[in-house]
């Protein structure tokens, strides 16, 4: 079935004012012990009482990204943790292979959007909670969408999506000139991930704890086989499958785009791989393995998802209310040998290309890009660090030293006022230079003049 990407219909009814009847006396007895009573092992600023409970029920908006194995659990957990306003975004439809863990879905739901069904089922069971579904890609939403939420919880299975959301959320972050993050611009994220009996949960408070990019190295690179091994010296069933997938498909089915969700395509890959394996006396090519290799299927079970999601939901509650001390920022779970649940405090990358403050540079409001570059070159803080800097603003290349084709195209910008190029406001510029190991983030602050009072410095 073809996914209807980009569609985002408001299935959920308009948020209704919570009826008094949804709160039968004593319903939240257990949770109230945590929220209404003072405690000792609590976070800074915890204010026990009805206001805190009402805040998470009525005012705090939480976005859950992904309505799969973790997403279903997260919605349930957050709803039963007192969060009253949830939204969920997922571009996928329900597949039979989801049913062993995505407990909100049934056989009859196969083919339906996950976000829609998940939202309906949670609202049906947990009265009073409002869950708004979004059946679309995260890239379809602009940053103002994400800005509406106080906390964003991630139940994703891809590195790309995590990295994308991280960049969006860290994009909201602003720093004071002294390099400390401006508290009101911080949007906390809680991220979960599982694979078989293993998983992790982490809390990201941009500007204060390591962001996703700071610790990208925690994720192992995907295993890839050399193409010539696949072509010439296959030795394992996976080699045979990858050959057919990556090379033979293009040779034998020219012009057809391979679709891993098309059963005929998958069957063809399997049959050809089996033939190839036989030819090389390799045993072990099965349909299941073929799917596993081609789709890079990650094994998944209900229990690990439940454990990781509940950990994420609890941390979400702690961030929102401070009703308990938060965990160290990274929790690792392993359930293959007994149960191993440990937390770590990993380091923030001070030069992170996504979340770091950037070096503040103050310039006149009328400075041109060329002048700005001259200022950088003269700045003692960058001495011997830059010689021929290229300058970019977000995705826009303001001036590129190389290659010649881009240099020529961006050269006219040198004479333009930086402030115009930056859309009238200060902010972060990325400086690239051969002498720099990474990317230098510069926080541009325009000096305020008497003539120009409407934009204050500070980025």
């Amino acid at each position: 079935m073809k996914k209807r990407k980009g569609e985002d219909e408001p299935w959920a009814p308009e948020p209704e004012v919570m009826a008094e009847t949804t709160d039968i006396e004593g319903r939240w007895r257990d949770l109230d012990r945590l929220l209404l009573r003072p405690g000792i092992l609590v976070g800074p600023g915890f204010e026990p009482g009805i206001d805190t409970r009402d805040m998470i029920r009525n005012d705090c908006r939480v976005l859950v990204i992904g309505a799969g194995g973790l997403g279903c659990e997260l919605l349930k957990d957050l709803a039963l943790t007192g969060f009253g306003n949830l939204e969920v975004i997922d571009m996928d439809t329900i597949d039979v292979s989801n049913l062993n863990r995505q407990f909100l879905f049934r056989m009859r739901d196969v083919g339906q959007p996950k976000a829609k069904i998940a939202a309906e089922r949670v609202m049906e069971r947990v009265k009073g909670v409002n869950v708004v579904p979004h059946y679309c890609r995260i890239e379809d939403k602009d940053s103002s969408f994400f800005d509406q939420f106080q906390i964003i919880v991630l139940g994703l299975d891809s590195l790309e999506a995590r990295s994308y959301i991280n960049a969006v959320v860290c994009g909201f972050l602003e720093y004071e000139p002294d390099g400390s993050p401006i508290l009101t611009t911080i949007k906390p994220m809680v991220d979960g991930g599982t694979e078989g009996f293993k998983g992790h949960a982490r809390v990201i408070i941009p500007g204060m704890t390591p962001c996703f990019q700071c610790s990208m190295w925690l994720f192992p690179p995907q295993v890839t086989f050399p193409l010539c091994t696949l072509a010439e010296t296959p030795r394992s069933p996976a080699h045979c499958i990858e050959f057919v997938h990556l090379i033979q498909w293009g040779q034998d089915r020219t012009g057809e785009t391979f679709d891993p969700d098309n059963p005929e395509h998958m069957k063809w890959i399997y049959e050809q791989a089996a033939k190839r394996a036989e030819q090389y006396s390799i045993s072990g090519v099965t349909y299941s393995l073929t799917q596993g290799v081609v789709k890079n299927i990650i094994p998944a079970i209900a229990s690990t998802n439940a454990i990781v999601a509940a950990t994420c939901a609890l941390e979400t509650l702690k961030i929102a209310t401070m009703c308990s001390k938060g965990m160290e920022v990274f929790m690792q779970y392993t359930g293959t040998d007994g149960v191993y649940m440990r937390t770590f405090q990993n380091e923030k990358d001070p030069n992170c290309i996504v979340c770091s403050a950037g070096v503040p540079v103050e310039v006149e409001a009328t400075t041109t890009l060329q002048k700005f570059i001259d200022v950088l070159l003269k700045d003692s803080r960058f001495k011997n660090k830059i010689s021929k800097p290229s300058v970019s603003l977000q995705g826009e290349n303001l001036y590129m030293q190389a290659p010649p084709i881009l240099e020529e195209e961006t050269r006219p910008n040198l004479l333009r006022p930086l402030r115009t190029l930056m859309g009238g406001e200060g902010g972060i510029l990325n400086i690239n230079d051969k002498r720099l190991k990474g990317i230098l983030r510069v926080q541009v602050i325009f000096k305020t003049t008497d003539v120009d009072m409407d934009t204050a410095g500070g980025g």
Partner: protein
């Protein structure tokens, strides 16, 4: 710390500044890093780069190589580069757009170059890949073949191989396969 997430206050602020904030195009870490790679490119005179989607989309570009020595002297070969959003965690996807008779490049444009797959690591860059590609034309390697026939000819009979390369680049047939002219 509760002030940090003091929801009501924040919502009010958000409402106040809602019309001030222009939507900014979000940039992935992959884009940031490739920006660096591209701005520091050091292309040999035999190599050029083009950006079919304009200067602000660096995730997709083409590299053209015109070897000035070796078997492939005088040919023009175009490679497409696709950079992932999580580059350099993942290697770029590189394909040869020009149909070429080459032991390490198959007729569909797949390229067997270790740093594109099993030996990729994040300290490598677009520059390293371009060097690798240039090297493939200077010194085709019959030991790691993707085009088995071409590799065999190179190993057994380099003169014949040279003739085949010339013929293919001139727009002729080699072993029943037609190659468009690229010289």
């Amino acid at each position: 710390m509760i002030k940090l997430f003091s929801v009501k206050q924040k919502q009010k602020e958000a409402a106040e500044s809602a019309n001030g904030r222009a939507p900014v195009k979000k940039q992935s870490p992959g884009e940031l890093r490739v920006q660096k790679d591209i701005s520091e490119l050091n292309l040999a005179k035999t190599t050029s780069i083009s950006f079919p989607n304009g200067k602000d989309n660096l995730l997709n570009f083409e590299i053209t190589i015109r070897p000035d020595e070796g078997y492939y002297q005088g040919g023009t070969f175009v490679f497409t580069f696709q950079i992932s959003q999580v580059y350099p965690h993942e290697a770029p996807k590189v394909k040869c757009k020009t149909k070429v008779y080459h032991p390490n490049i198959d007729l569909e444009g797949n390229v067997c170059l270790n740093i594109l797959r099993e030996d990729w690591n994040p300290v490598l860059s677009v520059n390293s890949i371009i060097y690798g590609l240039q090297y493939l034309f200077l010194d085709p390697n019959p030991d790691d073949p993707l085009n088995h026939e071409a590799a065999e000819v190179l190993r057994e009979n380099p003169r014949q191989f040279e003739n085949n390369v010339r013929r293919s680049m001139a727009g002729g047939y080699v072993g029943g396969n037609h190659f468009p002219r690229c010289i």
